[in-house]
């Protein structure tokens, strides 16, 4: 658990980076600090491992005031992932990952074998270990950065805009990977980002900061979208928040209907779903038999946002539902989905 108690940081030039922050980060959760630049989110993060010390107030990690711990010792127990990864250009990937175990006094052989385990854990092939960081893609470098931060198995992980320098597709992959890792490792993670979508996607709780280092709202992401505390949060959360909040609504009430499927397109006067031998959707056969690409697929068990999007994006108006293996399971209609959403408001 990490606790901020009345924490203020005033820099020498008089700017107040963090103003009276009171906040508790629960153990074993991902908590996201989000806000525009200059809102004090990174400063707050860096006060946890004493890269910055507070002017007033106390930061506690597992009940212990961090100011009472020697910074290098404190940091050995707190993983840190930085924007652009911060890998050491002169060390191989494996030695980069082995850094903290070596600093903690492990033998070289033990540190390296631990590093190899971690490369595997973050989904990198072992042969990458011999390369130098410059030979890796941005996404791979970030994975190495995460592996390096986890190497000594610290209970706390601080992540400072770790994925903001990679392209959106890679970023989404890295976010999924982080969520998968967290399900396995159960760390206390503080994640800083300026991207509200990222915050809502990976955070179990999200702290929205505003200029002047003031905490504007601290809530689970669904609540942030549905009940923003004030106009600042509402505008920061941005457009489409009503639609985006559907990511947190359960879709179990939506009835999945059967529909006709065909293996080859044919002019039948109506829409028919094309499937392959494995019953995986391949598109739609239009009324005159022309093939039209399908809309998004909704995987059973997902949030209702996916069901609505499948219905709205389908050329036939029928959202295609698939099972976890990607096989056709039925269709949903937009009005049904909306009825379920309405009933949830109730």
């Amino acid at each position: 658990m990490i606790e901020f108690r009345g924490v203020t940081k005033r820099f020498d030039d008089g700017t107040i980076a963090v103003n009276g922050l009171d906040l508790v980060v629960e153990a074993g959760t991902i908590t996201v600090f989000v806000g525009p630049s200059g809102c004090g989110k990174t400063t707050s993060l860096r006060m946890v491992n004493r890269m910055i010390d507070p002017t007033e107030g106390t930061v506690l990690v597992d009940g212990k005031d961090v100011l009472t711990v020697d910074p290098p010792k404190l940091r050995l127990g707190i993983g840190y992932v930085i924007q652009q990864a911060g890998l050491f250009p002169h060390r191989t990937v494996l030695d980069n990952v082995a850094t903290v175990p070596l600093l903690s006094g492990w033998s070289k052989a033990k540190a390296r074998s631990r590093a190899a385990e971690l490369l595997e854990l973050v989904g990198l092939p072992a042969e990458l270990g011999k390369r130098y960081p410059v030979q890796l893609s941005g996404g791979q470098q970030q994975r190495v950065g995460v592996a390096r931060a986890l190497a000594a198995d610290p209970p706390v992980l601080l992540m400072d805009e770790p994925f903001s320098a990679v392209d959106p597709v890679v970023r989404e992959g890295l976010q999924d990977e982080l969520l998968r890792l967290q399900a396995e490792l159960d760390k206390t993670i503080v994640f800083v980002t300026h991207d509200i979508d990222e915050a809502v996607r990976i955070g179990e709780k999200v702290a929205v900061f505003r200029e002047g280092g003031i905490l504007a709202q601290y809530a689970p992401p669904a609540e942030l979208l549905v009940r923003p505390a004030d106009d600042f949060v509402a505008s920061f959360v941005g457009k489409d928040r009503g639609y985006r909040s559907l990511s947190f609504v359960d879709a179990s009430g939506v009835e999945v209907l059967p529909a006709e499927t065909v293996r080859a397109p044919a002019a039948s006067g109506g829409w028919q779903l094309l499937v392959d031998a494995e019953r995986r959707p391949q598109g739609w056969s239009g009324p005159d038999g022309t093939v039209v690409p399908g809309g998004s697929l909704y995987e059973q068990g997902g949030a209702i946002r996916g069901a609505l999007d499948a219905a709205l994006s389908s050329p036939s108006g029928l959202g295609v539902v698939v099972d976890t293996d990607g096989r056709f399971a039925g269709v949903v209609e937009a009005h049904q989905v909306l009825d379920v959403i309405e009933s949830h408001r109730g």
Binding site: R75, I82, A85, G86, F88, P89, T99, S104, Y132, V134
Partner: protein, 219 residues
């Protein structure tokens, strides 16, 4: 050519040449090694404290304008050594080479990316360990380039020391001019060049061994 063969044919000459060559190596490389250490320390100071940088830049500019011969003569007057002591040459060349190396070292340290430095700090490196194992290794390519220039410059400047009688291959030039005899001059030039090339080669090999990561980016 006959002259040179005759000159080198004498065993006494050959052993004298070996002594001069060893003197030359000693007089040029000892200052180089001392300068590397000094330049790293001063470069770090420049990088950490802005005022050190300002002071060193002005001092080094002034130092460089003093001709080497003058410096060889001034040093004994300042530190009280005998005019002919080889230590004068060592000190003078150490001054030149350090001046040459400080600025690039400071710049190389400043060029270490912030995210790399911050990551090292956040992982629990103490400042000295961070300097020795992260920042300094990253400055090696720049340092090596400076050392190569410094080694060539020292090897040629040591010859000037012969004018005040401190030994080294420069003695071949002073003797040759005095006796109007070309052979020692040519032998001196060839030996100086070979020495400079061999030292440079060793430095390149050393740099490549220390910085395998710089080649990785190009493959």
């Amino acid at each position: 050519m006959g002259d040179i063969a005759k000159y080198l044919g004498d065993a006494g000459t050959r052993s004298a040449l070996l002594t001069m060559l060893l003197d030359h190596i000693y007089l040029s490389l000892v200052p180089l090694v001392i300068s590397v250490v000094l330049a790293v320390v001063l470069g770090l100071a420049c990088h950490r404290f802005r005022w050190v940088n300002t002071v060193l830049v002005s001092v080094s500019n002034v130092l460089y304008t003093i001709p080497s011969l003058a410096l060889f003569v001034i040093i004994p007057a300042v530190i009280g050594t005998s005019v002919l002591a080889p230590v004068n040459v060592v000190i003078a060349l150490t001054l030149y080479t350090t001046t040459l190396l400080v600025r690039p070292v400071a710049e190389a340290l400043a060029a270490v990316p912030d995210h790399v430095r911050a990551a090292a700090t956040a992982m629990g490196f103490r400042p000295w360990r961070r300097f020795l194992t992260v920042e300094l290794p990253l400055a090696v390519p720049v340092l090596a380039a400076g050392v190569r220039v410094g080694s060539v410059s020292n090897i040629s400047l040591v010859s000037v020391g012969a004018l005040i009688g401190t030994g080294g291959l420069g003695v071949l030039f002073t003797d040759g001019f005095r006796q109007r005899y070309l052979a020692p001059i040519i032998v001196g030039i060839v030996l100086t060049m070979v020495l400079a090339l061999v030292v440079d080669l060793i430095l390149v090999v050393l740099r490549n061994a220390l910085t395998p990561w710089t080649k990785a980016g190009r493959s």
